[in-house]
């Protein structure tokens, strides 16, 4: 199956992989930030912790 994937970027590797890396980083940041906020404020709204 994996033989069907083409990961041989050749001379474009220097552009393609940074683009994918940047996308992964930004999306990961947005996901983590969103989930962290939801967790934090849910706790502040429902739990004993006082909102700052």
């Amino acid at each position: 199956m994996s033989a069907m994937f083409d990961f041989d970027a050749g001379r474009y590797g220097a552009y393609v992989w940074p683009a994918y890396a940047a996308t992964a980083i930004v999306i990961a940041f947005l996901v983590i930030d969103s989930l962290w906020r939801a967790r934090r404020w849910k706790r502040a709204a429902e739990g004993g912790e006082r909102a700052p």
Binding site: F5, Y15, V26
Partner: protein
């Protein structure tokens, strides 16, 4: 916002299952999209760099879609003073800024392979997206610098609407600017002649981005609702 969801309690009940569901859909679509992406052969013109298109073009589309959502939510917030709409607008802005930043970075990398330059001012789309990014930054800056939340909400909504009206004008003006400078014609990623082998991963990735945005948007609106509740609690506790 759908009328049925205007009630925060109902919204929380709905988003409780809708957000994870959209998240799972997004991950599934992302997996399929990436599989289709890397099975696609190199383009005869762009070579392997065509793979950047599959993440750049959806990001560029989403930058507009999110701004439209931001503008729509701001409009409802301003006209009907609905707190949930304000939460939706506030929640959309960082996501929009993030995806617009992605469109810029990947677009620049793609441009370097296609045009041989990191940035081509003659490309109206690139320049419009840059201005759009500045609109997002302005929104976030205004939101951050108004201390009184009750006053920040209408102000940011007005700004979002002003931006929404201006966006087409900015695009038109940048396009006109290009015609004056007669920049070299640009590869059209979204041209009608795209072969199916490229169209399939592109559309799948676009749907994945859309679902992912939907999921994160709901999560962030939930966070906003909780934050408001926490503030009300704090005010009550203070007497």
């Amino acid at each position: 916002m759908f009328p049925a969801l205007a009630n925060p309690a109902r919204f929380m009940a709905f988003s409780r299952w809708a957000a994870p569901l959209l998240g799972v859909i997004a991950i599934g679509l992302l997996a399929i999209g990436l599989a289709l992406d890397f099975r696609a052969p190199p383009d005869y013109q762009q070579g392997y760099a065509v793979h950047i298109m599959f993440i750049h073009v959806p990001a560029a589309w989403m930058s507009l879609v999110v701004y439209a959502c931001l503008g729509g939510a701001s409009f409802i917030s301003l006209v009907f003073r609905h707190p949930l709409a304000q939460a939706a607008a506030r929640a959309a802005a960082p996501l929009g800024a993030g995806v617009t930043l992605l469109a810029l970075v990947t677009g620049s990398l793609w441009g370097k392979t296609t045009w041989g330059a990191w940035w081509v001012w003659g490309d109206p789309r690139l320049t419009s997206v840059l201005v759009l990014f500045l609109f997002y930054l302005g929104y976030l800056a205004l939101d951050a610098s108004l201390d009184d939340e009750a006053r920040a909400a209408p102000a940011t909504s007005i700004l979002a609407l002003v931006g929404l009206v201006n966006l087409p004008i900015v695009h038109f003006s940048v396009t006109w600017w290009r015609s004056l400078h007669q920049a070299s014609s640009v590869f059209r990623a979204d041209g009608p002649s795209m072969p199916a082998i490229y169209l399939a991963p592109l559309l799948t990735m676009a749907l994945a981005y859309m679902a992912g945005f939907g999921a994160l948007w709901l999560v962030r609106i939930r966070a906003e609702v909780w934050r408001r509740r926490a503030q009300v609690r704090a005010v009550r506790a203070a007497g």
